[in-house]
Amino acid sequence: MVFKLAWRNLWRNKRRTLITISAVAFAVLWSAVLQSIQTGTWDKMIDNMSRFYMGYAQVHSKGYWGEQSLDLGFEPNEVMSAVEGKLPENVDMVPRLESFALASYGLQTQGVLIMGIDLEEENKLTGIGNKITEGTFLKVATSSVIIGDKLAEKLNMAVGDTLVLLSQGYHGQNAVGKYPVVGLVHLNSPDLNKRLVALSLPDAQNFFGMPDLITTYAINLPSKKYLPQTMAVLKTQLDTSLYEVMDYNDLIPELLEAAKLDQASGSLIHFILFLLIGFGLLGTIIMMTKERSYEFGVLTAIGTERLKLAGILWIESVLLGVVGALAGIALCLPIVYYLHSSPIQLTGNMADQYERFGMEAVISTAFNPGIFINQAIIMFVISTVLSLYPVIKSLTLKPIEAMKS
């Protein structure tokens, strides 16, 4: 009866209740969509970085990640034999030799990331072979390269042109070479598209003068859920005085920090939004309380305990907030789901802006139940806090005074 009474009380002034619920629903819709876009964008970027480039984890020689020095290259067989058969099924170790170089074509020179890759394993991790937009993929030890499409644009190169690479190799050797560009690649990371030069692992080892050595094992997982188990195997099986095992939290801390910072600034916007809605809700709750003070007097006169009355008023306030939140969630679910399954590809200036910040020019959303549940919880908390007004009023109510007012 208490719930029934509260629910029916809510609809005594249908128009006012509908306006209030709509306002809450709109705020929740706006907030959930914004949060989903924000989370989706960052998730996508982090996922792109970890799934399609870094791997969710990496193994290096101890100290390599800090120094990024080729001198800390290592024999891959040693690592492979230590973990072979112990990693979860479908977890692959993708060998790489990574360093930096100056790339030159004609009068243009550009700092680039050199990535020597195992063509088959790399393809499994990053699908790089399927991202060739022009030309062909690499072949083993053909002394050719593929480069990011944006880098080609910057250097004014096309497939068939020859790229000059200049760097420092293993233990200070000179590393110089000329490589024909056999293909242009477009990855999901705008940053990589601007600076990637990939060549087969033997070619890279040859270029840097470090045969049979690699700098990195990127770990290819079928999904993120295998990460804890994989990390545990790597950390127990490898000699951690010789090797460092890092997951994506260690590998891209700046990105994760930036995501947190952005989400914190987003939270401020959500806070202001909910503050405004809170005031709207408070207005309705105050009106609902004031205009029924005589009735509350009657209810206590006939024997309704003040705590029970407070309970009815609390349920009314919470219903107002939570029904609005649920309506908002119901409205935003199809929008978020649509954007999640069919991300919007940005073009023109907007796309440039995104890429300038190293983000893929795509509006995608995270279809994360946590976001929607949070909205409902926030509205529940707000309406509970706001219900303190009628609750306190009812707990201190004197029937005769209420009936006189």
């Binding site: 009657v298 006169a301 006939i302 024997g303 309704t304 003040r306």
Partner: protein
């Protein structure tokens, strides 16, 4: 058996500013089964006396016992519980809960008392039959006439099986036919079930039917006649 006993009741409003003495030493005893009208001009203290008897207001001085229980020392929450169990109220403007149906309004106090569903259902049907509203169980107050609403209020007051019913100007908003009908029901309840009724009223039709008439004037009992 004494149902209500008030001794030396005074009530002064605004004692620190402009004091208004609403009651000035009222002594009154109501026995079980009485059908009493408290009458008097506006401002004579009728409603104040009823509020104090009903535990809705506290006297400035004097003592009040209901069924042998002294109300003076009870806390606000104890008074609410006491009213719920011992006193039925009928108000001038009916004061039904607008969002509940006739049956739900009647059931409401029993629900507060924690009575079982079957007991509530049976009693609601009995009571609404007694007040002649068996065919209006699912109607909301807005769908009933003033007289019908007041009959629901009587059924609600009776639902808790109280010791007595306090009715503050119960016929003030009713036409003659409704007044007569309501009084018939109350008289029947008084005769058949020996329910004690205490009214405050100026309505001569109520006064004519009352078996005891207490006249208040300037906060004091001027006369107390039993017919």
């Amino acid at each position: 058996m004494k149902v209500i006993e008030v001794k030396g009741i005074t009530k002064t409003y605004n004692p620190d500013k402009v004091p208004v003495e609403a009651l000035r030493g009222v002594d009154l005893t109501i026995e079980a089964g009485e059908f009493t009208a408290i009458v008097g001009p506006s401002g004579s203290g009728k409603t104040t006396l009823l509020n104090i008897i009903g535990g809705l207001d506290r006297p400035t001085s004097g003592d009040i016992w209901i069924g042998g229980t002294k109300l003076n020392d009870m806390s606000e929450n104890q008074l609410i519980k006491f009213r719920q169990k011992e006193i039925g109220f009928v108000f001038q403007s009916y004061n039904l809960i607008p969002v509940l149906t006739t049956a739900e309004n009647t059931e409401f106090v029993m629900l507060l008392q924690g009575r079982s569903k079957s007991e509530r259902d049976t009693r609601v049907k009995e009571l609404l039959a007694e007040v002649g509203l068996s065919d209006k169980l699912d109607k909301r107050p807005s769908e009933l006439s003033g007289g019908q609403q007041q009959r629901v209020a009587v059924a609600r007051a009776l639902a808790a099986k109280p010791k007595f019913i306090l009715a503050d100007e119960p016929t003030a908003n009713l036409d003659s036919a409704s007044t007569s009908n309501l009084l018939d029901i109350m008289e029947k309840l008084n005769h058949v079930e020996h329910m004690t009724f205490v009214f405050s009223t100026h309505d001569q039709r109520v006064i004519d039917r009352a078996r005891r008439v207490v006249v208040l004037e300037d906060g004091m009992i001027k006369s107390d006649d039993r017919k």
